[in-house]
């Protein structure tokens, strides 16, 4: 760590998180824990087919089952005009959201929701699903991204044309969008290159894997007020989407956040809320719907599989001069993969003068994809960081040194021409070079060490908070961002730092959409940055009010009063001091309470880099890869609460390990995911990973009052390539397909392909 953190009193310390006791005693209430009087239980009927037209839906028998109180289909949704709803790191069109929540005329993936019932208990609801009769006309499914791009591919939507800046395509297509970047003169650049390599890569669809399935409870009152209790990453996003899908005024939709058991981007879109709402409207009772694990895999939004082709050229003295990338991402049933982010992040660690990038967002018969932690970046980095690794090897340069020689820095321009502000890739690489891990030799057969870097933009977006001083000198902090990783505490700490009080004296609360100003989602690695900024501004407003009040009490002009280290002091009389608590005790006797509200849309977001080192051992007989040692270096700007920063780093790495080695949506030819359970969708367990060493680098973000850079997402970007690079060194075979499962290793090393 640098010495930056030492100039703070609260920032950089490790207080117990404010919601901790509730979470270790089972008292914290998550989405499925909602219990209301008269509550009914809902379940969703889903398509068994990957691609089909819906010919008819008959719900009579289901409605007649004793205990069933309501049934809903897409026909119960109002016709809505289409528009784009911003979800933070992805977007959706409202008509497509409505069609994804309940299929309209076609089912586009196995697991696509078609109808739902509400009954007095969940078992009756499940029985009722079997009594819903649906007639389908089967259509051929398309399940591979390259197949879906072919001109004769089965079309998911006959009206869809490819959108691009070049104007819409003439033919209908599954290619929803084409992006392109050209920077410099790539043809010229490749002529200058003395070493050129070219490779193709494929990655599979994977799921965020949050342990808590989606759950929503809705109550539609007779006065038209809809209340929703849900675990979500964004209460205001839920409110906006529900209001749009149901054509119901935003003022009559209230969203109450429950605690959330993991999200990683997958709990930003809505799946259940409008369904539960209409079931509640029809039955007159609150309705709770909870997904089971198979539904989570088959009916919510995983992240894209991809096909990527790259060409990269360098001069013999180690300068990367040209890069060309072709990236095709699976959007799933409706457009909106993170292809834009994939295109704009994979070369971000480097200063490359000549670049061409083509990106394609492609629909096919799989679930509509959703954001997954740095959406779009990991798959693209899997390709780019192996290309860089291969170039370094051919040039006989250490792979970390090679990255340092070509590093992007402040002022470097990306493929769209935009220059970077102050960034910390070089510092990360240097810290990796100097790490104990990198300096320790790795010896023995079947072992290899790989490195990789990665980048994520991070978001700013909008946040609002309100802070109020209590008579005992504690401060209530009202905020609107659900707490997935400890943000109640990182916000409380920033407010405490601003006011010069202890973190324990701030009481943060996450409240509903009627109780706080607008907040964008918990996502984009933005809460500690943006909501923290709002907390800082609210704190500064309170400081001003306290200065004025102290001036009143001391009968001096306000200009003579200042705030320092949680104390009010007077420039003209040293004896006049008041601690924060002393002034708070007098607050209500001397005027109104001290309250500060701030709504911010801050600029100056700092992007984040991470460089990672993986040591692996590959068993030549079983193909199993063991991670022997793993180090993550990351530029965090300022580590507000180092333990939770480390937690984000370690958690992202382990998700990356699972993505690299085992996780995939394994489809049969009919478009059925055959491994839709935690047994066969193999996520890492305690036995699969070692301790993850963390090295926090602090290059404070000049754009933030406390130097914060978002930390949550970038950790997942490098591991796919770091592990692939390590496996290459352990086995001599480059792995260009994910996951690098034991089967894949044996196929490639034993020549069985």
């Amino acid at each position: 760590m640098t010495t930056e953190a030492k100039r703070y009193k609260v920032i950089g310390t490790r207080p117990i998180r404010h919601d901790g006791v509730d979470k270790v005693t089972g008292r914290a209430q998550y989405g499925a824990d909602t219990r209301l009087t008269g509550m009914l239980y809902g379940r969703v009927k889903r398509s068994p087919h990957a691609h089909a037209r819906i010919l008819s839906i008959n719900v009579e028998k289901a409605l007649a089952l004793p205990g069933v109180k309501a049934v809903v289909t897409h026909a119960d949704f109002p016709q809505v005009a289409d528009r784009v709803q911003d979800l933070g790191e992805t977007a959706t069109s409202i008509r497509e959201t409505a069609r994804n929540v309940l299929a309209e005329d076609k089912v586009l993936y196995r697991g696509h929701a078609v109808a739902a019932v509400a009954a007095t208990n969940v078992h009756i609801a499940l029985e009722a699903l079997d009594l819903i009769e649906i007639e389908y006309e089967l259509l051929p499914p398309v399940l591979d991204v390259r197949d879906a791009m072919l001109p004769d591919a089965p079309l998911l939507d006959e009206t869809r044309k490819t959108r691009s800046l070049a104007g819409p395509s003439e033919q209908s297509s599954n290619i929803a969008q084409h992006l392109q970047f050209v920077y410099g003169d790539p043809d010229e650049g490749f002529k200058q290159a003395e070493v050129v390599i070219e490779r193709e890569f494929t990655t599979k669809m994977v799921h965020q894997g949050y342990i808590e399935p989606q759950a929503s409870t809705a109550q539609w009152n007779a006065d038209g007020q809809i209340t929703i209790w849900t675990s979500t990453q964004g209460t205001f996003a839920v409110r906006a989407q529900v209001s749009a899908v149901l054509a119901h005024p935003v003022s009559k939709v209230k969203v109450i956040p429950m605690e959330i058991g993991g999200g990683f981007g997958g709990k930003i879109p809505i799946y259940l809320d409008p369904v539960a709402a209409i079931l509640s409207q029809k039955s007159g009772k609150p309705v709770k719907i909870q997904l089971d694990r198979t539904e989570v895999f088959e009916g919510t939004g995983p992240t894209s599989g991809s096909y990527i082709k790259m060409r990269m050229g360098a001069t013999k003295d180690g300068k990367i001069v040209a890069a060309e990338s072709y990236l095709a991402y699976e959007a799933g049933a409706f457009p909106g993969s993170a292809i834009g982010a994939g295109c704009q992040t994979h070369l971000s660690p480097y200063d490359i003068p000549h670049v061409k990038i083509d990106g394609f967002d492609v629909v096919l018969n799989k679930p509509k994809t959703s954001a997954y932690r740095a959406p779009g970046a990991p798959a693209a980095a899997f390709a780019a960081e192996q290309m860089v690794d291969e170039l370094a090897e051919k040039l006989n340069i250490d792979p970390l040194q090679f990255r340092l020689m070509n590093t992007a820095k402040e002022g470097t321009r990306g493929p769209g021409g935009r220059p970077f502000p102050r960034i910390g890739h070089a510092e990360c690489v240097e810290a990796a070079l100097n790490s104990d891990h990198y300096k320790s030799p790795l010896e023995g057969p079947n072992k290899g060490r790989g490195v990789a870097s990665g980048f994520w933009f991070n978001g700013g977006m909008k946040s609002s908070v309100t802070a109020s001083v209590n008579p005992d000198g504690t401060v209530s902090l009202i905020e609107g961002n659900t707490d997935i990783g400890g943000t109640r505490t990182s916000l409380a700490m920033q407010l405490a730092e601003t006011l010069g009080i202890a973190a324990e004296d701030v009481k943060p609360q996450v409240v509903d959409t009627d109780s706080v100003g607008y907040n964008d989602v918990t996502g984009g690695s933005r809460i500690t940055f943006a909501s923290g900024w709002a907390a800082y501004e609210a704190g500064m407003i309170i400081r001003e009010k306290m200065i004025e009040r102290a001036a009143t009490i001391w009968e001096v002009p306000a200009e003579q009063v200042f705030f320092e280290d949680g104390m009010l002091k007077c420039t003209t009389d040293q004896a006049k001091t008041l601690t924060f608590k002393e002034l708070a005790a007098q607050m209500l006797r001397t005027g109104p309470s001290f309250t500060g509200s701030a709504s911010v849309a801050p600029v100056g977001v700092g992007g984040a880099y991470s460089t990672q080192i993986a040591d692996v051992e590959v068993d030549p007989e079983t193909g199993k890869t063991t991670i022997l040692r793993y180090t993550i270096v990351q530029d965090v700007g300022t580590a507000i609460h180092p333990s939770y920063v480390e937690g984000q780093m370690q958690g992202g790495v382990v998700q990356g390990i699972g993505w690299a080695l085992n996780e995939e949506y394994f489809y049969d030819e009919q478009g059925r995911m055959v491994n839709s359970s935690f047994l066969d969708y193999r996520m890492p367990t305690t036995l699969d990973v070692p301790m993850i060493e963390t090295i926090i680098v602090e290059v404070p973000n000049p754009g933030h009052p406390y130097g914060v850079r978002g930390v949550g997402e970038v950790p997942i970007v490098p591991p796919l390539a770091a592990i692939a690079n390590a496996i290459y060194r352990a086995t001599g075979v480059r792995q260009t397909q994910l996951p690098i499962s034991p089967r894949r290793i044996l196929e490639t090393t034993l020549g069985l392909e």
């Binding site: 911003d86 992805t90 977007a91 392109q180 769209g416 980048f455 933009f457």
Partner: protein, 93 residues
């Protein structure tokens, strides 16, 4: 004059130029003047009177959420990028 970095798929409208300099105090004015220099470009950037939702614009290094209302200085640099999300800042690089 503001310096507009023209996305590759629009350069045919600008005689192949990758950077075009135009006057303008706001992004709306810049786009109008850009259309004079590169006929037809306005229709590719604007839909229903607003910046297309899949686009984001960076002015002097910061992606703006004010759309066409964003003010532009005398020597501003402007890049047109794919939006990350339906209008969230697109970070370049």
């Amino acid at each position: 004059m503001a310096k507009v970095w023209v996305p590759s798929l629009l350069r045919t409208l600008c005689d192949g130029r990758s950077i075009v300099e135009v006057e303008g105090r706001t992004l709306r004015q810049v786009v109008e003047n850009l259309d004079a220099a590169c006929p037809g470009i306005r229709a590719r950037l604007i839909e229903d009177g607003e910046l297309r939702p899949e686009l984001a614009v960076a002015v002097d290094g910061e992606v703006t959420d004010l759309g066409l209302l964003q003010q532009v200085r005398e020597a501003s640099e402007i890049q047109i990028l794919p939006a990350i999300g339906g209008g969230m800042e697109a970070r370049d690089g």
